[in-house]
Symmetry: C2
Subunit: 206 residues, 2 copies
Amino acid sequence: MMAMRRPSSSVPYHHGNLRNALLAAARDVLEERGPSALSLREIARRVGVSAPSAYHHFPSLDAIAVGLAEQGAAEMGACLTAASEDRRRSSGDGKSLLRTGEAYVRFARANPALYRLMFGEGFQPASKGNDAVRDLRQRARAMIETALAGRLPAAELPVAGLFLWSVAHGLALLIIDGQAEPAKDADAVVLRVLQLGGRALARRRR
Amino acid sequence: MMAMRRPSSSVPYHHGNLRNALLAAARDVLEERGPSALSLREIARRVGVSAPSAYHHFPSLDAIAVGLAEQGAAEMGACLTAASEDRRRSSGDGKSLLRTGEAYVRFARANPALYRLMFGEGFQPASKGNDAVRDLRQRARAMIETALAGRLPAAELPVAGLFLWSVAHGLALLIIDGQAEPAKDADAVVLRVLQLGGRALARRRR
């Protein structure tokens, strides 16, 4: 197995370790200074390896962006799954969807630049046609549709899913971008907005 | 008044004309190739003036981004106002909000890169702290809150406004980014998602 040595320390990088170290450095740069600050040279410098060593793992900035989007999608998927499993202990599907929505917005707020990158900012290839991001999208849609299956006719599920995703995505971005006025208690505002989303899909009296 | 001559034609640029021509060229570059392709040199080249002439109007890329965001905010504001005035001829506030929401998503879909720039993509200064964008935000919120004032208690208006804005913003971006599966009839899907938003705020039986 290939190993590289950090010039400034005695910790060697094994192949997978270096890849992860480069991604971690890229993520720091992304969150600190935005997508336009990403460069292979800067990422290699932070990790303490040569630019060609970094290039070996990520031949282009787009490759790094795709790696970051995949990592983000995996982490976000785990957060949503945890929230949706939590619902099995709670009382009914309305509450579960709320918890999943809160987890969604929480992840985006905690990783604002990564979240924006996952949705195409600066790097369209990382968003469009990326398998991990597409999987996340399908998993999120499936969770929503499963939770709603008991209360809506099947034909209404795709639009209902797109609606709930729009609420969470729009809300997360408006907060990240500082477009929504800062609230004293942002968590409470998020909850109330998501509750309105659920209200639109409440069982109808027929 | 300052005038410059296009090298390739006999049409002179007066001061305001050149500014507008530069903005129009910047907008073309933005929609064709994204925010990272914006450069003063390329914009000057397209207009047929020297880079210093362009620099005179826009000393930095951020200045161009702010100019584009202001132009986008003014145009979008006009579209929303037209849609909201249209409602006075229609039957009730539910319909008016729908028309305004449709106009909102339509503008974003017709100007995807400009819309993303207005919300910070690539150029945070064009989004945060820009007076025109802030005015647009406040105007849109005021339209929504006026339309809802008859059906909700005053204390609920800010959260309700943020909710409807989240639906429109999230939906517009998911469509622009190609995250939502392409529908046979995207306009009909937009309408149905916006209708769900209205349903959340329907008058409650007390």
